[in-house]
Amino acid sequence: MPESLLTMLAPIAWPAAIALAWIAGEIAYRWASLPRISSYGIAGFAMAASQGGFLGDPSGEPVAQMANFAFTLILFELGYRVNWGWLWHNQWLGVISVIEATGTFVAVFLVALMFSVPQTPALLLAALAMSTSPAAVLRVANDTRSAGQVTERVVHLTAFNSILAVIAFKVVLGYWVLESAGNIYQAIWHSLVVLMVSGGIGTLFGLAVPALLRLTRNADRNATVAFAVAALLLTALTHALNFSPLLAALTFGMVARHHRVGLSQAQRNFGALGDLLTVLLFVFVAASLEWRHVTEGIWLAMAVIAARLVVKATTTTLLARLSGIGWRKGWLTGLALTPMSVFVVLLLEQTRHLHAGMLDNVAGIAAIAMLLEIIGPIVTQSALMLAGETHHKEVI
């Protein structure tokens, strides 16, 4: 193809990719009941330049900003759905969360060492593996209109382990900076200050937006658009200042929730806006991955995925009855916590300013992200269906 034609076509690459991924998602959903987001991932990966496709490396491009916005919306919704009061009434839930997250950290760290991964990347990998992908969990739960104990617990445990993962990640990062640069101030800045300021910005938004809605007597109607606009602003702001958009968005949702300015059920996923951005998000994430890196780390990836699944599912199963549900629903909760890709890729993308190419350097992470981008949503969807919590066709 002549170079000039390629240049001409470049601006339509992303819209075309989104269109193709969307079509793939709908077809696979109709014919194989495959979660749409799995198809978006497969399509995105196949269309990436590193796989011979037409999508250039998206990191650092404007489309990355859009993907971050998409993820902010999801994290806001996740935060919004977290009821901290539940932890108070059911302390076993907190125990489950702490054990499954720290257990995963330790197990994955040990697995990484067994694969001769150096200490710092092994710690980073362990921190990332703690998290469950909020994007996959919420999309699957919302698409299947799932509701019940497994769904509620997966949503809460995902929020908690995502927060723990960000904290662990930033602390390891701080430790790394301290080790390599020997600068204690820079180290503290990268961990503690970033965490606190990000949370602070989120809190500020969480207080200001509902107050504004109440002031304009719009609490009922325009809440969804208002929250989306605020999320857009929050993404840009935290990104520009190099704080953590992830943490800020989660805090935003958690604080906003307590003001009873409702996101109605119809507006789950932020409606059509959320649907559109989800295609972009999952294509973006998969397009960030390179086949080369995926194949390199495949064995480590499988070992990490297995260790992670064992720790999470064992914890949720053993503590199921103490926390008020049966063994079976406990086991399905652990299973549904499998996805992790989007969270990890965006977290790495957002720390690019520190050290480019970390996605390549944390061994095995590309392979884990790729495998779980496809398998994760399928596992979550199956778990929710087995738990009988998805909306199924009835007489009417």
């Binding site: 919004y80 759905r81 009821n83 009061g85 539940w86 009434h89 059911n90 209109r145 509701a147 019940g148 104990q149 509620e152 809460h156 007597r217 609490a219 009922d220 929730r257 009873r260 300015v261 409702g262 996101l263 109605s264 059920q265 926390s323 008020g324 549900i325 049966g326 629903k329 009988g388 919590e389 909306h391 199924h392 009835e394 007489v395 009417i396």
Partner: protein, 376 residues
Amino acid sequence: MALETFKAGTSLTMGVELELQLVNPTDFDLTPAAGDMLDLLARKPFPGDVKPEITESMIEVSTDVHTRHDELLTQLRHIRDVLVVAGDRLNVGLCGGGTHPFQHWSERRIFSKPRFNELSVLYGYLAKQFTVFGQHVHIGCASANEGLYLLHALNRYLPHFIALSASSPFSQGADTLFDSARLNSVFAFPLSGRAPFLLDWAEFEGAYFTKMEKTGVVKSMKDFYWDIRPKPEYGTIELRVCDTPLTVERAAALAAYLQALCHMLLERNDPPPREDDYLVYNYNRFQACRFGLDGFLVHPQTNETLSLREDILATLRRLAPHAAALGGGAALDELQNVAAGAGNHASLLRRTYANEQSPLAMVDAAMLHFRKTAAP
């Protein structure tokens, strides 16, 4: 299946059934949590009975048989506390209220049980529309004929119960202008309404039930959705027009009101019921549903137009000695307060909406009212 024998028991015992809403505390919409709640509640003895209802966002509790208001209230509070603790463990909110203000019927799921599945097939969308929450009060009868007598003698007082219990002003996201929109969902069923005017059990069985059974339309008393129906296997009559109030205190008070009323009716000082009483029945019932305590009713025997509020207050005064005899004075005081000024729970919910401009706030308020012990 023939009509069961009426198991006559002690007059004026009472029992209460409450259908309750299961709510997600995040979006305040109904949530299909009945299965998880029942699993958890099954681990310990329950202070009464708890069972599923037609859709998965409902749960029904019932008390034992009581003779005194305070004992009934104690058990209802105990039931409430056990439910609230279980709900807290599962992140499920519970509340009363005859309707959920903004749930969409099509989102509901039928609780998987043969009878509910059959009803869903037969009634189509009416089955899911039936995600409304009522209070049923049983009154024990010494004989089947006493039951039929009370059932018809109560016709003139039925609007009282609708107006006092009304707690369903909103439906499917909008203000209906009704105080009890719930009953409109009940009226849609072909076998709803009132029982045929028969005062003799043998006649009821032979001239009505057996004929109906032969038509194939009904199999048991359960298939009738009447406002008041006899429940032969319990030896009771069952009043079914009340919305589930927001508090168990109000629920107990309504039961005690019915008990005192039956106590008075059994003295047979009121003129006996007549078929013609039912000429104004549907009109009076509509007035109570639509306007609550501000409605007007037509006295079926004098044709006099009465303010529903005044009629309730007058009845409460007449009932004072009867309630005193039964130990239900406190219950009547609560209802006196409702009728004289405080208003029913429909008006409480409307006030909440007016203050907060959010339908979610109504559910939030309902959940708070349910869990706290209301001031006496």
